[in-house]
């Protein structure tokens, strides 16, 4: 199978390393608008795993060039900024190549599903939002939903923390543009059977994550899971689906400050007569930070998918959790990169094996069989654990949950 990865950034590097590490995948092309960056990543992969990765320059906004570069491959893994998702999908239809991406932040996700018929007709598969979250979390939701007769609620959480040692002023684990968009957009959540727009960073509560993250204040942000899970589990009667994220205070303060100043606004400012998008300058300044030769990597994302529904007439809650840390095989990667950038590479392996099949546009929960996917995760030191909660002697969860509030009579 010939795979082309678009974008050699934070996640593209992890995908390329994972694909190159996989002995079953022989040819990988890595494309970026910055050829130097693509070359650097390709070189890193080739030194570790032999000459498998070829770097090319590609400006995805140029449709003709994009089609010509991806032609001849079996699969495109799109990891450029999510703004280009629909555009890259169209190129895949022209070039007749399968497609994967790592999320569309809801707004793009709901546009992307509309390509379903076109991909079906072309006999191609497009898996949208197969990164860490969305991605691994969707497959976790699928696993739980498969056990249940009805699904009432799917709540997804991501708790991030970082103990890395670095002299850099600001480091993040996924694209700063996406982080700023998440801060700025009014998130859409599925509540009581309806899609509702809530205030940015509202719905905050302290969530108990697995160690080492522990308890962390987490709030609503815009995310792709909410765009697909309620549609996929409509028939099982789903009424609620939400996404919350938790950042450590130190990074949250910095991000909130930058957001507060207006680095998250999409409109330009005028600098020396040029229209400038502030977040692009912020991104550049972050890239230009001096590398710390003594930097250590020690981050953690805990992704948690909580599914509530009925099984044989009894109400149950499944909680699936993965503690994503740096791994031995790739000491250069943050834990966050290993699972966010890694997930499409695991899916690529399942596609190669024929475990994932079909044609059309699919969310991960629609087309990825959970157990084989979790086996791929485990090969990369990412372990999915599940716990099942049932109430004994009653089915009244609401009454039982209220006992956890300090003010239990509200």
């Amino acid at each position: 199978m010939k795979v082309i990865v678009l974008g050699a950034g934070l996640q593209g590097i992890a995908t390329a390393l994972d694909l190159a590490w996989n002995q079953n995948i022989r040819e990988i092309t890595l494309a970026d608008i910055d050829l130097d960056r693509a070359n650097y990543v390709a070189e890193l992969c080739n030194q570790k795993y032999g000459n498998k990765v070829r770097a090319v320059q590609c400006d995805v906004s140029d449709m003709e060039a994009l089609v010509s570069i991806i032609s001849g491959h079996d699969l495109v893994i799109n990891e450029v900024n999510y703004y280009f998702n629909c555009h890259v999908m169209e190129a895949c239809l022209i070039a007749k190549v399968h497609y994967m991406d790592i999320g569309g932040l809801y707004v793009e996700t709901i546009k992307q599903v509309k390509y379903k018929e076109q991909f079906e007709k072309a006999g191609l598969i497009a898996i949208i939002g197969i990164g860490g979250t969305p991605g691994v979390t969707n497959v976790c939701a699928r696993w739980a939903a498969d056990q249940l007769d009805t699904v009432d609620t799917i709540d997804v959480y991501c708790g991030c923390d970082d103990w890395s040692g670095s002299t850099k002023a600001l480091e993040v684990t996924y694209a700063i543009e996406t982080i700023m968009d998440e801060f700025y957009m009014k998130p859409i959540q599925f509540i009581d059977g309806e899609y509702v727009e809530v205030m940015p960073r509202s719905g905050g509560k302290v969530i108990q994550y697995a160690n080492p993250v522990g308890s962390m204040y987490s709030y609503f942000i815009m995310h792709s899971e909410v765009g697909t899970l309620p549609e996929v589990y409509k028939d099982k009667g789903i009424k609620n689906c939400t996404f919350r994220i938790g950042f450590p205070d130190s990074i949250k303060e910095k991000l909130e400050f930058l957001h507060g100043l207006g680095f998250s606004r999409s409109d330009d400012v005028i600098v020396d007569g040029n229209d400038v998008k502030p977040v692009r300058v912020l991104k550049k300044m972050m890239e230009l930070q001096t590398e710390d030769p003594d930097a250590t990597i020690n981050d953690c994302d805990v992704i948690k998918t909580v599914v509530f529904g009925t099984q044989n007439g009894q109400t149950v809650e499944f909680e699936l959790e993965a503690v994503c840390r740096p791994v031995k095989e790739w000491p250069e990667l943050l834990g966050a990169q290993v699972y966010i950038g890694g997930a499409p590479a695991w899916a690529a392996e399942l596609l190669r094996k024929g475990v994932i099949k079909g044609s059309g546009v699919f969310a991960p929960e629609e087309c990825i069989p959970p157990e084989p996917f979790f086996s791929e995760a485990a090969k990369r030191e990412i372990y999915i654990r599940v716990s099942k909660k049932i109430l004994l002697g009653t089915n009244d969860w609401e009454a039982a949950r209220k006992k956890e509030f300090i003010n239990q009579w509200i």
């Binding site: 002023a169 400050f257 507060g260 100043l261 680095f263 400012v269 600098v271 502030p278 912020l282 300044m285």
Partner: protein
């Protein structure tokens, strides 16, 4: 009298407000406020009933036309233009006042001293809070001494506003960023030398409401001015230290560390972009929007302190002069803006009334009579006081220092 204010920003607006106040600034005078952004100038003019006009200070012809016929020019544009504005004042024969030149430009400005003398006009350099009031306080202390060995300026800023605001900027953000990234200069052993930015950290016990706060070296004009003004009195050491509210400091430091303090262009999507200017554009956009929102009442403070050491009649003395400034109850201006914008108005009136008699390019400590100036400050809610430290059991502090510095 005709006074032209160049720049209708934060400080220009305060200068005009003070000059138009019939109680604080009695008498009739013609006032023109000029800005590159005519709308800004008009906004001030409409509020205060003064004249407004467009002026691009980078164009000498336009600049001279703007100030021609005026008696005093108060320069409140970014300090990079100070020399240009001074040259225009020489051409039209107007007195000149500015808010400071962040050390390097100040030194350049002193080179015009001869020409100002010849024209019989005065240029008062750095006549805001610090430099400005700080220098007049140093001048007062130095006047009590026969010999001056050291003069140290320390400015403490506090902000107690209960606010949702992400950041409040009391003076030019460009200057704030430069203060955090440029090498500070101090006078050491009689020589002006550069030191590392952020060095010299010291815990200072300011007067309330600031109290204990950390201060460190920061580029400012005062060391260059003190070195020049107190040369005959034998000055060897001079410095400027700044203490900002810890939270504000953290945020500015963060932006500086990210590289937003630099003017070196970076390529963003193929276009060369100036990071500092981008950040300022972003913050200004934020402030414009924020200013119209309802928020906690402003409550900030500046404490200006100068410590001058020397001898009087052979006895060592250490004189501390301090001024405490709070948010203006009269106008509502932030303390950090009030104390910078009001002094040029006071000094313009002192020139008008013949209280400033020296001619040439001068620092405030050389030409402003301190006590009349301090009285004007107090009328504007800025009291000034002094503490004089004198050894009684000997002629110097040597033995006292010895006793106090022993390990606990």
């Amino acid at each position: 009298m005709k006074i032209v204010i160049l720049g209708a920003g934060l400080q220009g607006g305060i200068v005009a407000t003070d000059l138009m106040d019939q109680v604080l600034s009695p008498g009739f005078r013609e006032i023109l406020i000029a800005d590159y952004d005519i709308e800004k100038a008009k906004a001030v003019a409409d509020r205060l009933d003064v004249q407004a006009c467009f002026c691009d200070v980078s164009d000498p012809v336009v600049l001279e036309d703007t100030i021609r016929g005026s008696d005093i020019v108060i320069n409140c544009v970014q300090y990079n233009w100070n020399v240009n504005v001074m040259k225009a004042c020489l051409t039209v024969g107007a007195h000149y006042i500015d808010l400071g030149g962040l050390f390097h430009v100040t030194r350049e400005q002193f080179e015009l001293d001869e020409e100002f003398r010849k024209k019989n006009i005065v240029a008062v350099l750095g006549m805001g809070s610090t430099p400005g009031t700080m220098n007049v306080m140093a001048g007062y202390a130095a006047g009590l001494l026969d010999r001056v060995t050291e003069a140290h300026a320390i400015c403490g800023c506090g902000d107690f506003t209960k606010t949702e605001a992400v950041i409040g900027i009391p003076y030019s953000l460009l200057t704030v960023m430069e203060e955090h990234t440029l090498e500070p200069w101090i006078l050491h052993n009689g020589e002006l030398i550069p030191v590392t930015p952020g060095s010299g950290k010291e815990r200072i016990s300011f007067t309330e409401p600031i109290g204990e706060a950390d201060a460190w070296y920061c580029i400012h004009s005062e060391p260059a001015q003190f070195a020049r003004s107190f040369k005959e009195k034998g000055i060897q050491e001079a410095s400027f230290k700044l203490s900002l509210p810890a939270e504000f400091e953290d945020r500015i430091q963060f932006l500086a560390e990210l590289g937003f303090g630099t003017n070196e262009t970076v390529l963003v999507d193929g276009v060369p972009v100036n990071p500092l200017k981008t950040m300022i554009a972003v913050v200004n956009r934020y402030l414009e929007r924020y200013d119209s929102s309802c928020d906690g009442e402003l409550n900030d403070s500046d404490v200006l302190r100068v410590v001058v050491k020397g001898t009087k009649n052979g006895i060592e003395k250490e004189i501390t002069v301090e001024s405490v400034i709070r948010t203006s109850t009269k106008w509502g201006f932030m303390a950090g803006a009030l104390d910078t914008g009001v002094p040029p108005s006071i000094v313009a009136q002192m020139i008008e009334n013949g209280l400033v008699t020296e001619r040439g390019v001068l620092s405030p400590e050389q030409c402003i009579p301190p006590l009349p100036y301090f009285k004007e400050l107090e009328k504007r809610e800025m009291p000034v006081y002094m503490i004089e430290k004198t050894p009684l059991s000997s002629n110097d502090f040597q033995y006292l220092d010895d006793v106090t510095s022993r390990p606990k």
